[in-house]
Amino acid sequence: MKRRTLLAGSAAVTALPFAQARAAERTRIVWWHAMTAALADQITRIADEFNKSQDTVELQAVYKGGYADTMNAAIAAFRAGQAPHLVQVFEVGTGTMINAPGKVVKQVWELSKETGIALEPKNYIGAVRGYYSLPDGRMASMPFNSSTAVLWYNKDAFKKAGLDPEKPPVTWPEVVKAAQAIKAANAAAIPMTTSWPTWIQLEQFSALHNLPFATKSNGFEGLDAELVFNSKHHVTHVQRLLDMAKDGTFKYAGRDNAPDAILYSGDAGITFGSSSSRGTLVKTAKFDFGTGLLPYDPDIIKAPMNSIIGGASLWTMTAPGRTPAEYKAVAQFLQFLARPEGDALWSQNTGYVPVTFAGFELTQKQGYYDKNPGADLAVKQLARGSTTANTKGLRLGNLSEIRNIIQEELEKALQGGQTAQAALDSAVTRGNKVLRAFQKTIKA
């Protein structure tokens, strides 16, 4: 037994130099990503599959910390002339990356033109493509992991409250009524909560109701965009949340995705959260969970528009001395990523939505949505209708800071320190300051 492992070991040692020699002939490219746990395993799988699929390129995937850390690391590396070939940047970083001066990044259309490798925008689902494209439709970065927001609900709590567990609320008045029923029956510790308060209750809300979040097509058409999410309809919605908080039917549970813990524990009757929570729910939920589309307000719109995405895309970065062969290798990998079977597998293994039409159809054909009822809601919600200037997403510099500001002002309003109108007005004023500062640095 011992001898055998020894032999195997020595075989591996002798084989190693050959493997390295072969790898040395290949063009090496590096991909920085921000995925952890099960998602990181999927990244490794993709890298392995790509490296096995051809023998000219060697892709190395490197974990660089959370989304913000990864982006900061890439920016610092660029400043030092050591940028990775590819970096995964979260959707709120898109404004910063797309406005990067000079030759910091090579946008997808540019890469495709230079290398002659086709990377077709039309293969991608509109709401996904739009977020990462220039106003004229040329793609700037490669869509990768995309999710959207959905409604999650606890079927057990619905039953206890006398609500139909197969019928999640569709409109906001129905949500309010359901939350009241849950509270009255004490069916869940928390009747309703929301993850990503800004992304879901303001950004998604604007898109669904075809309301502008900012001028200039939400910033797609110019750096001089101004925030306008303090309109009458936005105020009505935030006031609704404040009222619900007051009578105990809505519980604010923290910034960004901090409230996810409540979703997973089943303490909430209704939670608004990312569609990519599905993976964790399937694995860990000790309650019967259901999912529905994001609710809309029938007073504002009769048929809601598409929702917008969250997640991240891949940016090609430049560095001094980078060769055309390396860019070609990057393009080859991006093309590999876009294969329907790869897209479908990634989506099914992670809970993110397929980003290509073909990937979605393949997933459908493979029967995944039949076996996992509700998993297709996210894609359907993203792809319904045709996108307008208000539903393509947001293209605002320093969006993460603007999100922070909005959360701060909401928190002040929830403490009773200010009205819904005052909170949104103040967030708009402070947010506009951030936008102007960003505009100034870009023009410099």
């Binding site: 813990a261 100034k440 640095t441």
Partner: protein, 293 residues
Amino acid sequence: MDRRTVFGGWLLPVLLVLPQLLLTGFFFYWPAGEAVWSSMTSQDAFGEGVRFVGWDNFAELLADPLYLESAVRTVVFCGAVSILAMGLALALAVFADREVRGRHAYRTLLIWPYAVAPAMSAVLLLFVLDPRVGLLGRWLNRMGLDWDYHLNGNQALLMVVMASAWKQVSYNFIFFLAGLQSIPRAVTEAARMDGAKGWHRFRTITVPLLAPTTFFLLVVNLVYAAFDTFGTINALTHGGPGKDTETLVLKVFRDGVVNQDIGSSSAQSVILMLGVIALTAVQFRFLGRRTET
């Protein structure tokens, strides 16, 4: 007694000092110089368009009411953390200085929290204090106390003050204990013979003799509260709710790292650096004088 060494030439002394000079140069003067330079520029995240703007960043900061609010908050926070951490440590040190069984075990246990990384201690505290997931947090709510630091600014501030102070108690404890042990027994015993009672003894003998230690610790604690609490606060509240727990160093991080506004962030760092220089100067002046006499 003169203990000065006289070197024959200048080469050897320079060589001897050189390693320290290099270290200081590389790890202090260079980065500090960079910060001062960046504080007078406006630049995009990628550093492609750097523009000299003079004092603009400083002027903007000082005209920003949110920055001034943050400064006041930081002073209050530092004061609260220092008083709490030093008060607790002094009390513990006085008790641990007595002849009690197993006092070595107490002392060791009291030093432990110092070894816990700030982010780690914050995560541990979340498990205890979170209003919905934490043990104590849930219990408080069940008892009818409306505990929710996600939304109550005062509760959030109280929480970060306690969390930050808890980490520093150990450090203060070690110094206070050493200070207490260096007080000559003869003095205390003489006072006892003169009939001075416990509290009186403590006030008239222990406190004055501990003054140098106390003053040193005050400076260290203020600096700790101003800078090293970043990890704890960031992990516990991210500066929220609203801006209720955002201290200056948190704002430096948020503007520089999250917001990629290198100019303003550097200006804030420079202001903080001036603060530390001032504190250190005060410390040298006072402590220097004390040890001379």
